[in-house]
Symmetry: C2
Subunit: 158 residues, 2 copies
Amino acid sequence: MTAPQWLNEEELRAWYAFVAAGALINRRLDQQLKDDVGITHLQYEILVRLDAAPDREMRMSALADALLNSKSGLTYQITQLEKAGLVTRRSCPSDPRAVYAVLTDAGRCMLEQAAPGHVAQVRKLLIDVLTPQQLATIADGLTEVTHRIQSSEADPAR
Amino acid sequence: MTAPQWLNEEELRAWYAFVAAGALINRRLDQQLKDDVGITHLQYEILVRLDAAPDREMRMSALADALLNSKSGLTYQITQLEKAGLVTRRSCPSDPRAVYAVLTDAGRCMLEQAAPGHVAQVRKLLIDVLTPQQLATIADGLTEVTHRIQSSEADPAR
DNA sequence: GGCCCCAGGTTCGAATTTGAACCGTCGCGA
DNA sequence: TCGCGACGGTTCAAATTCGAACCTGGGGCC
């Protein structure tokens, strides 16, 4: 057994910065979106994905995957968004099991209202604080991180 | 009014990688700690902070600040940890309003059990995926990010 | 001293998240 | 064709989180 590989100072610094930045940014984004247009960051992301999808609709499970969220969590959120009139459900004719979430016009409108403020916040909190150099490094590194995690999720032999 | 500063491709890549990595890593850490020793990542962090503090105790509010968590959330978690015997509360003699959370021996023991697996997971998911170069860049960049956010929180004139 | 406001925690109810159990198809192999 | 395990979503109860309201004691100010 190898000795427990503690984190050295530099590693610890990176780790804590990563965790803290994630927590703080998430909180602020939620805050801003709720104050601004009354939806959460998660709901905003749902609208974004739907808007980007062909015909502005997606299968529940595809959406859940894209959002890295549990199936039941998505069911709940879609129900909320449906109550708010931003999204509707549509069942797939070819496969009665499948359900599509569809962005409504109101949802699109909401997205247009919400996007500028949200993007501005993302800029202010993260993007504009970093140099393009740093951004590129972060993008490369963390993309690799997410790829590895996701592939190990799919992989039965972890 | 400036035109809405959309994110360019590189910025978007960084942003999504950042969000995704944060979400995935958090989920995995929670998972691993719960499977392993039955506590959440948040609870683990509480134990870590207490263990690092002088006399292994901290004021509730200091702890809440350190964890970037709401006061009520901390109250809840400390109550849970107290039920589990990992922490006790102690009121401060000099100021009856203040409450200290104190790490118990059982808490210390739990921490010792949990730490190796947790650190290994952090390594596997993040640290070991990145080069020291990348780590340094991330540490620098995200430290700056958290500093700015935190200082703007304290600042009344945002 | 008496008043008022603030800081430190807790409590409360509402909203969200999670994981497990469930229900109705689908599609493949016997 | 039948059976059966896997898939796609939903439901449910339990745990957690959040924010606002609430207590209590401390200190400054008159």
